[in-house]
Assembly symmetry: C2
């Protein structure tokens, strides 16, 4: 015996969610069908709209459905300082933990030549263009202290030096090998304030 | 600063999934946006179709988009035996663990007069109609050994007795206070085979 075709397709489709196996797919599907159809329909509409219409901010690469994101449009933020992070969630973690008021650049990944992930794949070509533009005077590296993060930091420090842009990196205090987004606010705030020149 | 409207709506909508808080909503949304748009679109379509079109089997109350489910349409199954369970996942657990070949009746809940959940709310009126129909000779109770399950078992045993239908209940071995769907196959198979007359 089997679930009906529409339910089976829902069970299969739920497997695209990170951490969802056959058992939790069943639990989610039955929960929505029996107790929250409205929630399920809302999620369907939200998913469809987001998957089709969300792109990247042309300036900072944050995911957004707008050409330029709200953060980049905010001219009260310091335009000459650029904080380089690996993922959108790092931007939100830094915004919550620090009083940083400059701009961001989101790599959406880490340089990893061994895996065939080169500079252009994580937006480092676009970063280089922005640094060459002359408006940016300082780059703050807030990449994870992992092997790939180190390679990325090295690469950004080099292109910043070529353009005469000063470059600092947030202080250790972030556990080595750890993911930035899972660090508590206090540690992250401390690490950010204690950043040191990096070249 | 905030996520863009479409992303924020996706984060909010994801909260309808059981066990998903703000942090995992963010993780799921960014995963789909950055790595699996196809999966997200497929899930949107599957959710929409299932939420709008899945109803209940008119015979056994299993969720299905068909009027009568595949299991009830299967005339190779013994039509005179009816196994009463609390939830659709119990049907799947029993089908995997046992060689039971009769029909099912899914209550979709448990009798709980203190919470205002009466017989009609869990389909016991429909069950009574089916027992009065004369085709069913045996009812097997596979409800959980919880307080509400006991009340449900008692109720079903009474209406079965009124109609002269024999009634048995799957054996203990299922941990008392436990949920049927989380029991391992071996225990469940044993408990099912060791069912005893219940009146
Ligand atoms: Zn932006
Ligand atoms: Zn059915």
């Amino acid at each position: 015996m089997a679930y009906s075709p529409l339910i089976q397709e829902l069970l299969d489709a739920l497997r695209c969610l990170p951490g969802v196996g056959p058992r939790s797919a069943q639990r989610i599907a039955l929960h929505l069908l029996q107790r929250d159809r409205g929630g399920g329909e809302r999620l369907a509409r939200a998913l469809e709209a987001a998957m089709k219409r969300v792109g990247r901010c042309t300036q900072c690469r944050l995911p957004t459905e707008e050409t330029v994101c709200e953060l980049c449009r905010n001219d009260k933020r310091e335009q000459s300082v650029l904080c380089v992070v690996e993922s959108p969630s790092d931007v939100f973690a830094l915004e919550q933990a620090t009083d940083y008021g400059g701009r961001y650049f989101v790599l959406l990944g880490r340089l990893s030549p061994l895996d065939g992930i080169g500079p252009a794949d994580v937006g480092l070509d676009e970063l280089e263009r922005q640094l060459a533009g002359g408006e940016i005077r300082e780059v703050i590296l807030a990449v994870s202290p992992t092997v790939e993060g180190e390679a990325t930091a090295r690469y950004v420090a080099d292109i910043a030096a070529e353009q005469g842009v000063s470059c600092s990196r947030i202080a250790h205090g972030v556990p080595v090998g750890g993911e930035l987004e899972f660090v508590d606010s206090g540690t992250l705030s401390h690490a950010f304030a204690g950043r040191r020149s990096f070249r």
